[in-house]
Amino acid sequence: MKRVAIFGATSAIAMECARLWASEGTTFFLVGRNQEKLSQTADDLVARGASDVQLYTLDLNRIDSHAELIEACFSNLGQVDIALLAHGTLPDQAACERDPDLALHEFSNNALSVIALLTRLANRMEAQRTGTIAVISSVAGDRGRPSNYLYGTAKAAVSTFCQGLRARLFKAGVHVATIKPGFVDTPMTAGLNLPARLTASPEQVAKSIYGAIENRRNVAYTPWFWMGIMTIIKSIPEFLFKRANL
């Protein structure tokens, strides 16, 4: 029986992952901002077979509360087999270009809070010498694009941080998986005009996250074809790239 902690548990992708684990009788520790949504998620998981679901309401931007959160998480679950970090926001790029405070706030949402949380979590996982940390980064972090570079910067920071952490925790037997989804049809991307053929459902992405954790993948693009797309995007020479509007 797995013991799973999910940070940003009401996100559509996290919820679909949780459903996959719930059917195996998993015990959960769920963290989210919205208490009502969190308890609805808990009801759903129990109906789908979860053994037990503990809830913790917190805005993960409140970094000073992380120590208490991690304490509660480990004392509730005893041991954490899987920790999934799924919280994040999609910044309004144009607004961030006008307002530096907003830009930093969004950067904090998507990068600083993740780094802070990973730091505390990693130490506990290192001490327990087992388990997997899966972090939802994004293909957006692979290259800064004019349409979305604030989000991309934050995700690049997360991806690089995870890369280093993976090499450190490997020695302790703890695995770190960096998940890089492409376009996903979730409430976060609602209202965006995403190309239908390239847009995955949260269920599809969840299945590949589930597999990436089982198979101890280091970096998992999801759906898989984004690896090809990003290889091409990364290989475009800068003098051409800066002229394009990606």
Binding site: A12, Q40, T41, D43, D44, V46, A47, R48, G49, P187
Partner: protein, 409 residues
């Protein structure tokens, strides 16, 4: 909801888009896409009572219920419909004679309307809206969640028997005989056969197996990957297909044990099966004829179709039972239901369908709104005299193209 309605005049709750006609299209073309509302709220596996949000599909319910020994009390021919859609169309299945419609098993639901706070409806509480919402085509409000009583099963397998019949009269005899002993009965009919073989078909009956495994069926599905430039279903291919299918089935009263999935959902195996009809698609005709006129009227309907030399492989006949639905605009009545797909053709509605409509009208039958794309407003009001009651309970913010069409005077 009020804001949306003000901006677009009228919206419509939309589930998984499996209705065949315009009953799931919004009058304003702006929909409330409710499929993401797919959380379970509670599931009591001791009693089989589940409560789930309206966007949950029947497939999702089955995947939880089957391993725990429960099954849907009533299921239509596809599991890719939402709970909300199953209520809004008051769907029925192969066990209508034994358990009535889906609405008969709905204990309660929450209804959100633009003109009042969310209310919980049951047979006793807000009973008027409860009845209007079952078969209410999504017009009485948005169903947030619903509570359904499942039925216990001891195995996910079904014991089936298959019997060929040579005429409509034989079909009726088989119904009388086998509806007693079998929870599920349905017949496939060869819609092109005429003369001595007119009305021939294959009768299938089944019961949940008393023993065996309890597992969901996750076999690989086929898919129709693209839309061919023209319909693959034409008179020649159909005549051949029907003949092969009829001959491939032998009468076999020895029960054969099959998984629930191919028994209940044969078409779900082929994703995007509708594409075989080409870019024009298809139109379905589903009617029900009351028992007293069923035999002559069904014979006449089948004869009319065979003369028109069109139709499709998917022709399904089923005797509906007497269990009344709580729904105001429920489709089934005690009698025989016949459903056929036709490759879309520009003259379909004016020629064949209008001839069939007059047979249905004269025999006291009616058409199924969930499948309809042609019913006249006169016919609709005649078939469903309770329509005015539904109109008075309709949420002013909701309207479908179907409703606009059939209530337009």
């Amino acid at each position: 909801m009020r804001q949306l309605a003000q901006a677009h005049k009228a919206v419509l709750p939309f589930g998984n888009g499996r209705s065949y006609g315009d009953s799931c299209l919004s009058a304003s073309d702006t929909l409330l896409a409710l499929r993401p509302l797919n959380r379970f709220i509670s599931a009591d596996w001791e009693t089989g009572l589940i409560r789930a949000e309206a966007g949950v599909t029947l497939e999702e319910i089955l995947s939880l219920a089957i391993p725990r020994g429960w099954f849907l009390p009533v299921t239509p021919g596809t599991k890719y419909v939402t709970l909300g859609g199953a209520i809004a169309n008051d769907v029925h299945g192969k066990n209508h004679h034994a358990r009535g419609t889906f609405g008969c098993h709905v204990r309660s639901f929450a209804l959100t309307r633009s003109d009042r706070p969310t209310l919980v409806c049951t047979g006793a509480q807000n009973a008027e809206l409860f009845a209007a919402t079952i078969g209410g085509l999504g017009l009485t409000g948005v169903i947030e969640w619903a509570e359904v009583q499942l039925i216990p099963i001891r195995s996910s397998m079904v014991d089936t028997i298959t019997i060929r019949f040579g005429s409509t009269a034989e079909f009726f005899h088989l119904c009388d005989e086998l509806d007693q002993s079998h929870e599920y009965t349905v017949a496939w009919v060869d819609c092109l056969s005429r003369g001595s073989s007119a009305g021939r078909g294959v009768f299938m009956a089944g019961n949940h197996a008393p023993e065996g495994v309890l597992q969901t069926d996750n076999r690989r599905k086929l898919t129709v990957p693209f839309v061919p430039p023209f319909s693959a279903i034409n008179t020649v291919s159909l005549r051949a297909l029907n003949s092969i299918y009829y001959r491939a089935h032998r009468t076999n009263r020895e029960p054969r044990r099959v998984s629930y999935d191919p028994f209940f959902y044969p078409l779900d195996r082929i994703l995007n099966w509708n594409r075989i009809y080409g870019p024009r698609g298809f139109q379905q005709y589903q009617c029900v004829i009351p028992n007293e006129n069923a035999e002559p009227a069904i014979t006449e309907v089948l004869d009319t179709i065979a003369r028109a030399a069109t139709g499709s492989f998917l022709a399904v006949m089923k005797k509906c039972g007497r269990i009344a639905s709580p729904g105001l605009l429920s489709f089934p009545l005690p009698g025989v239901s016949l459903a056929l797909d036709f490759p879309q053709h520009r003259t379909l509605n004016n020629t064949l369908f209008s001839r069939l409509d007059s047979i249905v009208r004269d025999s006291g039958g009616r058409l199924y709104p969930a499948k309809d794309a042609h019913m006249s407003s006169g016919d609709f009001r005649h078939f469903f005299p309770n329509w005015a009651q539904l109109e008075s309970l309709r949420d002013p913010a909701l309207c479908s193209r179907f409703w606009q069409r059939v209530t337009d005077s």
